[in-house]
């Protein structure tokens, strides 16, 4: 469905993406994970036919994005990062306009159907300008789904949504991804883990890792960092924790909390808890910190260098 080879894009002297290679099959949800400025949006824009690459080739739904841009655009649904909406238009009219541009038969019925899918049927007659950010995001998503695209490209689809809506939108994407190809970008690790079958990690315009979500998770859980908090004095707390075998990198924070890590495989938290309570502390909190995206990049880029 999507096949990208040697894709490169320069903005003037700055190279935004370097020689990207990846593909995505039908019925697959592929996540593009990376920090801001990594080249996610640029790549997605090339795939939607918005702009041509400097070098390389991209085939989407069987057509070349440069040579047969119109054919690609007919088959792609796209939700850009800044949701493009005419704020002075009524929701229904906006979607109808987009549907007419895409020459959808019985466009009125289809608009109602899509509005129902994104849960905005009751707002069909309202002005887009009066909608909340989350609702606007869903109007944008409705616009991308309107023509039943073979390939759905979503740039940060859950940004600005409240937690309940995030869950809904993710479910919707998963449902769509069963039959169609979905390529989405995100800078949230848990989002990628949550929705995607496969994740491409991109940093500074290069793909630094590509794997299924499970494998990636296993690779990332090289070490787990945990925060621990007790009531009262913490003088010997660090020493106490260090007595547990496997605990490393103990660090006392200025606010009295203690952070430590252990290599994954065996969760040492129960043992640490017993030890701390056994030493007479009142345990208040013992929580896994997970990894920030920055740490993951360090991890991944570091691991790649070792190869």
């Amino acid at each position: 469905m999507i096949k990208v080879s040697g894709l490169t894009k320069d903005y003037g002297a700055r190279r935004a993406i370097h020689n990207l290679n990846f593909d995505a099959q039908q019925g697959e949800i592929v996540g593009f994970l990376g920090p801001n400025g990594a080249g996610k949006t640029t790549t997605l824009r090339i795939l939607t036919g918005y702009m041509p690459p400097t070098d390389g080739e991209a085939i989407v739904a069987g057509y070349d994005v440069v040579e047969e841009s119109l054919e690609v655009r007919k088959r792609v649904g796209y939700l850009p990062e800044t949701v493009p909406l005419y704020t002075d238009m009524v929701v229904f009219d906006y979607l109808k306009f987009m549907g007419e541009l895409r020459k959808i038969p019985n466009v009125d019925d289809r608009v109602d159907e899509v509005l129902d899918m994104v849960g905005l049927l009751d707002r069909a007659d309202g002005y887009i300008g009066n909608l909340s950010k989350g609702m606007r995001q869903r109007v944008g998503l409705a616009q991308a789904l309107l023509h039943r695209p073979e390939v759905l490209i979503l740039d940060e689809p859950t940004i600005g949504l409240d937690p309940g809506q995030v869950v809904e939108v993710r479910e919707l994407i998963r449902a769509i991804g069963k039959e169609r190809t979905v390529l989405l970008s995100t800078h949230l690790l848990n989002e990628a883990q949550n929705i995607c079958d496969r994740v491409l990690i991109i940093n500074q315009g290069r793909i630094v890792a590509e794997d299924t979500t499970e494998n990636l998770q296993a690779r990332l859980l090289g070490a787990e960092r945990v925060i621990l908090r007790v009531r009262g004095e913490t003088d010997d707390l660090a020493k106490t924790i260090l007595q547990v075998k496997g605990v490393q990198g103990v660090e006392t924070k200025p606010d009295g909390a203690v952070e430590f890590e252990f290599s994954s495989g065996k969760d040492l938290r129960p043992e640490v808890a017993r030890k701390v309570i056994g030493a007479g502390y009142d345990l208040l909190e013992l929580r896994s910190l997970g990894m920030s995206l920055e740490e993951i990049f360090l991890e991944l880029t570091g691991a790649d260098k070792k190869k």
């Binding site: 903005y11 824009r45 939607t48 036919g49 918005y50 702009m51 041509p52 119109l70 054919e71 655009r73 007919k74 792609v76 796209y78 850009p80 800044t82 949701v83 493009p84 909406l85 005419y86 704020t87 002075d88 306009f97 987009m98 007419e100 541009l101 895409r102 020459k103 616009q143």
Partner: protein
């Protein structure tokens, strides 16, 4: 036999293609036309055009009614059309300034450029939307000659009137074409407005100024003038192919500039 059916298929395909082409342009134009009436701009422009025209009309009627008693000439309605065009020099930039610049600013251009429409269909659709608005406005001004016709025997010169309206429509087409083209270059609508206004001002008033001082080439400058093809030609009842070609070329040039600007935007 097979070849024949192939030909037939090709013809069908070509006509479907043309229909789709028009449909895209029409979809864009229709939204833009409706959009004018959602904003106060349309009413402001209509007011600013129709008010001076109405006053001018009343003046002409009054003066001719005075002079008719002394055997003066019958009133003509074409000077009122000249006023329409003259006011449009200043107001049409307001109609075109945001057509594409605002799409770029709001990010909706990304939506249109990833929809299955060609860049020139987008630009032409925008132009057509503005053009339809001007046509609506121009059709309102028909009340002036209709009223005047009742007071003049044996009636107004309808052919001169038709020529004047043809000229008016062609000038507006060119103004809007250039305006849309310039709007595609800018992201800021006011930058588009002032550039367009400056260009129109130059083409209407200034391009002919050096013509009188030149030994050669004065004709070329006169040909470039926006006003001469209308004021001294179609608005006086003379239809020249050259004048029509001039305005259609300017429209096409504007749309070409617009499409190219959008294309360049993609490559950046």
């Amino acid at each position: 036999m097979i070849e024949k059916s192939c030909d037939k298929f090709r013809i069908v395909a070509a006509s479907t293609h043309t229909r789709y082409l028009m449909r895209n342009i029409w979809t864009i134009a229709k939204r833009e036309y409706d959009n004018y009436f959602n904003s106060p701009l349309a009413y402001v422009v209509a007011f600013a055009v129709l008010l001076p025209m109405g006053i001018y009309f009343a003046l002409i009627m009054w003066i001719s009614s005075q002079s008719a008693a002394m055997g003066g000439p019958a009133p003509e309605s074409t000077p009122i059309n000249w006023l329409f065009v003259f006011v449009m020099i200043f107001l049409s930039p307001a109609l075109t300034m945001r057509l594409l610049s605002d799409e770029a600013r709001m990010g909706t251009l990304e939506l249109l450029l990833t929809a299955p429409i060609r860049d020139f269909e987008l630009v032409t659709g925008k132009w057509l939307g503005a053009f339809m608005f001007i046509l609506s406005l121009a059709s309102v001004t028909l009340v002036f000659p209709i009223i005047m016709n009742n007071y003049v025997t044996p009636g107004l010169d309808l052919r001169a009137l038709a020529s004047s309206y043809l000229g008016l429509i062609l000038v507006c087409s060119a103004l809007l074409g250039l305006g849309v083209g310039i709007s595609a270059i800018f992201t800021n609508q006011f930058a588009a407005f002032f550039t367009t206004l400056g260009l129109f001002f130059f083409l209407w008033f200034m391009v002919t100024l050096p013509a009188g001082y030149l030994q050669q080439g004065g004709d070329v400058l006169n040909y470039l003038s926006l006003s001469s093809h209308f004021s001294q030609s179609m608005n006086n009842g003379t239809i020249n192919l050259g004048d029509i070609v001039y305005y259609i070329s300017l429209t096409a040039l504007g749309l070409f500039i617009g499409s190219t600007a959008i294309e360049i935007r993609r490559w950046r």
